[in-house]
């Protein structure tokens, strides 16, 4: 996974050159996660692009404040989630909520009548349904499940979300049920 080898370590801060170098390294190592997280928060492609850019801005502004109290990885995910939550609240105020879209196509499973269709299309559609179901979760649940899907440990999720590991496990179990119900796919198994 992107940046998964960077579980610890303190970001060197100081001169502008070091800040630039750190920023470039971080966005190179963690290129994909902000894009995936943005998809879990906003539907519109332009809003997503904006959000990814906002995350980059937040990262740039946060680098001088990083004191190594958490791992670089968890710190980055915190920045991404907090920026996304602020962006979603702002979009809601503009009336551009991430409410359910009624005309999304039905999810296609192996047993569906559309199996002859291109595998890539089916996969893309299933992914959209997963993301759509995640988007409908409350922010705290969304944060936990996306971090889980990003392959962070319960301990790392605890560091980011500020919840106990027990609470995270309980929530994950509840989210699993909710996702399963929303995707309405009988093959959904525990996360």
């Amino acid at each position: 996974m992107d940046g998964s080898n960077r579980n610890s370590g303190m970001i060197p801060t100081g001169s502008e050159a070091v800040r630039r170098e750190t920023f470039l390294r971080l966005i190179s190592e963690y290129r994909a996660p902000p894009q995936r997280l943005a998809a879990a928060y906003v539907r519109d492609t332009r809003d997503r692009e904006d959000l990814v850019q906002e995350i980059a801005v937040a990262l740039w502004q946060a680098i001088p404040r990083f004191r190594g109290e958490s791992s670089e990885r968890t710190w980055l995910y915190r920045i991404a989630h907090n920026t996304a939550i602020t962006a979603v609240t702002r979009l809601r105020r503009r009336g551009r909520s991430e409410a359910v879209v009624d005309n999304l196509p039905e999810p296609k499973t192996q047993g569906s009548t559309h199996v002859h269709e291109d595998d890539g299309l089916i996969r893309a559609q299933r992914r959209e349904w997963l993301i759509e179901a995640i988007r409908q979760l409350p922010a705290a649940d969304r944060q936990i499940v996306t971090l889980h899907l990003e392959e962070l440990s319960h301990r790392e999720i605890q560091e980011i979300a500020g919840m106990s590991e027990g609470a995270i496990a309980t929530r994950l179990s509840r989210i699993r049920d909710r996702l399963a119900a929303q995707i309405n796919d009988p093959e959904v198994k525990p996360l």
């Binding site: 907090n82 992914r127 996306t146 198994k189």
Partner: protein
């Protein structure tokens, strides 16, 4: 759908977003940050120029004032201009960006604190921004009224001037209190509503 399949789906690259190179992203980020700083700097420069203009104009009026009370009022307005310019230069950099590297709960607390601080600042505007020049203008017009009265000339002009000044300052205060503060309170309520929905 297995857990691995879920993760696999999740990790599928979205083809919709443009893939910008590192240097390109850095340039965009720096440009965006600078634009924000530039907007604040331009706003501050305009307000500072206005304050300096008010200071020079009312210093001249105070110097040329025919009476002590009028001169004192004009001098207070001129001093208010200096005070406002100083305040803008000293505290006009705008709120510092929140630290997004904290936990979700801590971040929400920071957001709430930020709104509270902005509301407090807006509510205090009437004391440090409006009241000093208003007092100066009222004193100057009071002096004007007393001078007209002493010379036996009808003093309606001075009374009307006090009324106009009071009206303008009241409008600014109302706009600030009822639109600025209410807007921030609405944002704070939105945040609380979002949190309540998610708890």
């Amino acid at each position: 759908m297995s857990p691995d399949e879920l993760r696999d789906l999740w990790h599928t690259e979205s083809p919709l977003l443009s893939a910008k190179e590192g240097e390109e992203v850095l340039t965009l980020v720096i440009e965006r940050t600078r634009n924000f700083d530039r907007q604040i700097a331009v706003r501050n420069a305009i307000e500072c120029c206005a304050a300096v203009f008010v200071t020079l104009l009312f210093s001249w009026f105070a110097w040329r004032a025919p009476g002590l009370l009028e001169g004192t009022g004009m001098a207070i307005v001129a001093a208010s201009g200096v005070w406002i310019a100083f305040y803008i230069l000293r505290f006009g950099s705008g709120p510092k960006p929140l630290d997004p590297g904290v936990s979700l709960n801590a971040y929400r607390q920071l957001l709430r604190d930020g709104y509270d601080q902005q509301i407090r600042l807006l509510r205090n505007v009437k004391y440090w921004y409006l009241l000093p020049p208003y007092i100066g203008l009222v004193i100057a017009n009071l002096g004007f009224w007393l001078r007209l009265k002493a010379s036996g000339t009808p003093a309606w002009g001075a009374i009307a001037a006090i009324g106009v000044v009071t009206g303008i300052f009241a409008l600014v205060w109302i706009a600030n209190e009822f639109f600025g503060v209410r807007h921030l309170e609405r944002l704070k309520r939105d945040l609380a509503t979002t949190e309540a929905k998610e708890s």
